[in-house]
Symmetry: C2
């Protein structure tokens, strides 16, 4: 059992913030598994055991980094997306994809901590799964607003869906308002599932790129992600807004 410092946001001990600062800096250089508590203490100029006054152990540092990592990723993507005109749904959609990839390339080890092999144990603490939903929620918001503006999913990509999957879709749909997505959504479960599809593709592609699986096949990584984003947008019926002679 461990009780000190309930990690309340108000008045965080300066040492704690120093630990997380140094930890994130070192994470930019060495990767999650190589991140060393002793090395962090060394850089702060303190003996390793001193950190145990503020943290229950090494895993807690990683958990904190995961949580703020999701928030930093979300902030970067949100900032990029908000610069695009609201009615340009395709532009917003593509921007989310690009900004996510840009952030991942700029912070590969931090990305690996979030989306690579879990290192804290195989069940993520619930405190880390809520901020993790930010990017998919942004995708969902764009898809919903595009739908409200008349976009319709391509009809031919509609296999018969298993009932349990329809139930998942409905549960997700019902949870959206609570997560800040004002969803006056059609009862069609296809929309949510297509968003989950796109979300999976986005991070699947970035992970493949960063983890070396495109090594001798796809070299035009940016263009490749762009094509994926376009295809997923097309499935959702999200098309270019500007005057296009199509």
């Amino acid at each position: 059992m461990w009780h000190p410092v309930v990690m309340a946001d108000d008045a965080a001990p300066p040492m704690l913030t120093a630990v997380l600062e140094v930890a994130r800096r070192q994470l930019g250089e060495v990767g999650p598994t190589a991140l060393s508590l002793r090395s962090i203490a060394r850089e702060i100029g303190v003996v390793p055991s001193a950190l145990y006054r503020y943290l229950p152990g090494r895993e807690a540092i990683l958990t904190q980094l995961i949580q703020t990592g999701y928030e930093r990723l979300a902030a970067a993507v949100r900032e990029a997306e908000e610069a695009v005109p609201r009615q340009d749904h395709l532009g917003r959609w593509l921007t989310i994809w690009r900004a996510t990839r840009d952030w991942a390339l700029a912070h590969p080890h931090e990305y690996a901590l979030l989306y690579g092999t879990p290192v804290v144990g195989y069940a993520a603490p619930s405190s880390t799964i809520e901020p993790a939903t930010a990017v998919v929620l942004m995708l969902a918001r764009v898809a919903i607003e595009a739908h409200a503006a008349g976009a319709r999913p391509a009809a031919e990509t509609q296999p018969e869906l298993a009932q349990e999957l329809r139930d998942d879709a409905r549960t997700i749909q019902d949870a959206l308002p609570r997560l800040g997505v004002e969803a006056a959504m059609p009862s069609d479960p296809q929309l949510v599932l297509l968003v989950v599809d796109a979300w999976t593709t986005l991070f699947g592609a970035i992970s493949f790129e960063l983890f070396g699986h495109y090594e001798r096949s796809i070299t035009a990584r940016g263009a490749h992600l762009e094509a994926l984003a376009q295809r997923r947008a097309a499935e959702l019926g999200i098309v270019a807004a500007a005057p296009s002679t199509g």
Copy 2:
């Protein structure tokens, strides 16, 4: 520098095979980063330094496990796929997806070693990237055979492709015969790129499932992967072969 035992397939030292056997067994329990050379030596009943007669270090064990891991995955998927009638392209396609997921669920740590955060260093040795292509090659073969049988990609999912991406597609296409895929393929780059898309989706979804990102959203994981496979098949024009009253 390190020279003994060039890892030739003929007459591998029994200790070496024992190491890899025990290593894979332990990998089934603890995960790649926790895999310990000392623990392996302990189980064999030998002192740690003894292993250095046969291996240059811990990373070499992981590299070996990666290589044979890809081969084991490929074997499992191939066995399942070969049980499906050749002309049932959709059935073969879906079987590849299911078999890959089944193997991943049965060997989560081994899957994490292959498709999670790289642990051997950020450039995979070239000996490990060739067997890694087996699954995507199987997807490609089915897509090509379906195409030869008349399947055509959906026309509307065709954004203008960047030239560099078309070049990648051509390079891949040219490499296929050398990799055992007898490809009398159309010059359309779309087909290869759609296969890469599907490949990315497949492992993206499995990684999301295993690494906990579907934790409170998608619970019907099997049905979900099935839907993804169906959608990717539809984009490639792979449809059910049997008499179906559409």
